[in-house]
Amino acid sequence: MKEFSIDVPVEPPTELKPLFVPIPAEYVEDAYKSDEFIVLVGPQHPGSGHMRIIVKVHGDIIVDAIPDPGYVHRSMEKIAENRLYIQNIPLFERPSIMDNANFNLGYIRAIEESLNIEVPERAKYLRTIMAELCRIGTHLYDAAILAVFIGHTTGFMYPFAVREIICECLVRMTGARFTSSFIIPGGVRRDVDKKVLDFVRKATFEIERRLKNFEKIFIKNPATIARLREVGVLSKEEAIKYGVVGPFLRASGVEYDVRKIESYEAYDDLDWEIVVADEGDGYARFLVRVNEINQSLNIIRQAIAKIPEGDVISQDLFEGVDSSTKNPKDIRGAFYDVFANLTLPLGETTTLTEAARGLLLYTIVSDGESNVPYRVRIVTPGWLYLRGFMESLKGERLADLQAIYGSFGYFPPEADR
């Protein structure tokens, strides 16, 4: 198509100067000298979340996208250095509150690995069930955000309604809708009785039934498919090069899942598959997560069927604790005796966890004598796939920005930590 340039003298807008935009002044001037245009999407934009994306557009096509994250940075790593190990559990649930069990699990596993604690089987199964419930919740949340980003309000409401069921399950299991801090070093806080597990099993079927409605109105909607297909494509090579993780890596055809490769908790005993797609476009990224919901429901049902009887808190922890408060099925009463002076041996421990949005890394460095960590490093999936997200924007239309954003399920609080 032939292009016609119109020679209109355009001044770079003044608003780009006083804002602390992380781009050089020449970048703006260069854009305005050529027939390009800079649009600041966010941080108050209805389709940007808590971040700013500096988009350089040529006509309607995005030429360059520069992320400006950090609006919800809470300095978690630094806060963690001044708190007891046990006090850090509620803190490290916060990056992604829907996905609290997975975030909790990574941290707890690092402590357990360092202390060399063997977790009872029943606790492992309970942790698996919780992690998968949170995974479904996060995927539903992301699906809802994707729907509202491309203008489908019904697709926004349905997953949130379905997520209420998951919240109810978590309430009955742990006592809180989310951020329950239920997983502790050595097991879980309390045993969960059979009645509740039966409820969770029934709930999985109800979730499946309601997801069929969602599928009819949103997933298989021709307009949705038109918006997401062949949009924001990341090929297999690109996805690996830019370090994309989790379902978004699997959507590009890479079969990588920490739960299979470095299995933890009860995932090895259960029968499930890694969901993979080949297209690498927005719709594939969405479908992978939808299919993962089905896999997770399957995992939960199997785990409830297979869950063994027994303790939920490791006996290793109770050494030197008054015998009257010892209860291997409930930590209440012994909590401060056990955890207040928890000290990790000298050294560094790293764990990998498959959180809902992808690979989650925790590193705990301990000096061996104090009861607070010397350093905690947390690398969240959002931060890892931000690069791939920005690369996939290039060459797409400005209207696709929100569709790609939603297809990645980018969650600024999680990435900023």
Binding site: V39, T154, A223
Partner: protein
Amino acid sequence: MLDAIFEMFKGNMVYIPLIQPIVNALMKIPIVNYIVALILWKPFFAVAILPGLGGIMIVLLLMVYWERKLTARVQWRVGPLEVCRPLRGLIQPLADGLRYFFQEVIVHVEAHRPYYVQLPILTFIPVLLPILFIPAGEIVAVRSQYAIQIIVALIALIPITIIAIGWASNNRFAYIGTVREAMMYFAYEIPFVIAVLAMILMYGSGDPYVIVEKQTVPGIVMNPIAFLVFFIATLMATSRLPFEIPEADQEIAFGPFVEYSGILFGIVMTLAYEKLYIMCLLMTILFFGGWSGFAIPLLGDLTPAIWLFVKAVVIMLIIALSRSIYPRFRLDQALRLGWTSMLGISLFSLAIAVVKVWWLG
């Protein structure tokens, strides 16, 4: 002079048996009789009461409530409820309107001040002009045998005011929205005109009276393809989902209207509903038999107007459902749809009309 005008008003008044005793009583009071005669003068009644301004007000209040309530029902929610609980939140739009009235109107520094403030009010001109030519039985402002063509031409003026609004806002998102509005206008206008042309060809006239008379079976049965094109064009023209492209709030934050606040936003927000109302009136005349319906003796001259209004409102209520079913298309997809499929089927509808008129009589 005044008497001559009064006589003109009196000679052409809407006759409603239900309120006739009251009218007769009021006509005996000196100054009031002038006002009553003016209000009930048929051309004035058509523009100011029904199907004109009064109809628009009812539609705005009803439509906003219905749209929210219906969407809520589809989405497993309750919707507006707290404002006047006994009426299930029926006066919620009124409360919203009041809120707009008492909100501060912010005019930002970079706006072109005179146009920015004037244009939302000026948009009522192209919205109300087509109503002059929309007849409801005997109640009509301007009677013309080219009424349908004139209405279509006047509807085409509405996007221009939106483009002017976006330009006066002087904002990047408003600018993008303005360009999108202009693009969408090109996407739907030609198929829309061809579909109307097919119907005019079928009825052999652009006179609404002839059109309504000839619809022994409704136009939708005579040429369903033309109706399909007209329906999609209505969705596009009034930026309903799936074609809510110029105002996409997640993408460009309400596009041309991004800078407006307070009552000015209240006015520009209603623009799409007003346009929808006019296009539904046109749709009723062309495809659903216009104002024909069984006579209600008590309402007299008002019966056709009521029928026209009710039919248009029912169509609007059905169109409201599209919002809870579809996500938004992208601009290039909508343009492709407009210039390929819609243009194709609109030409097909024209062919149907030609075949029916020339070969089948």
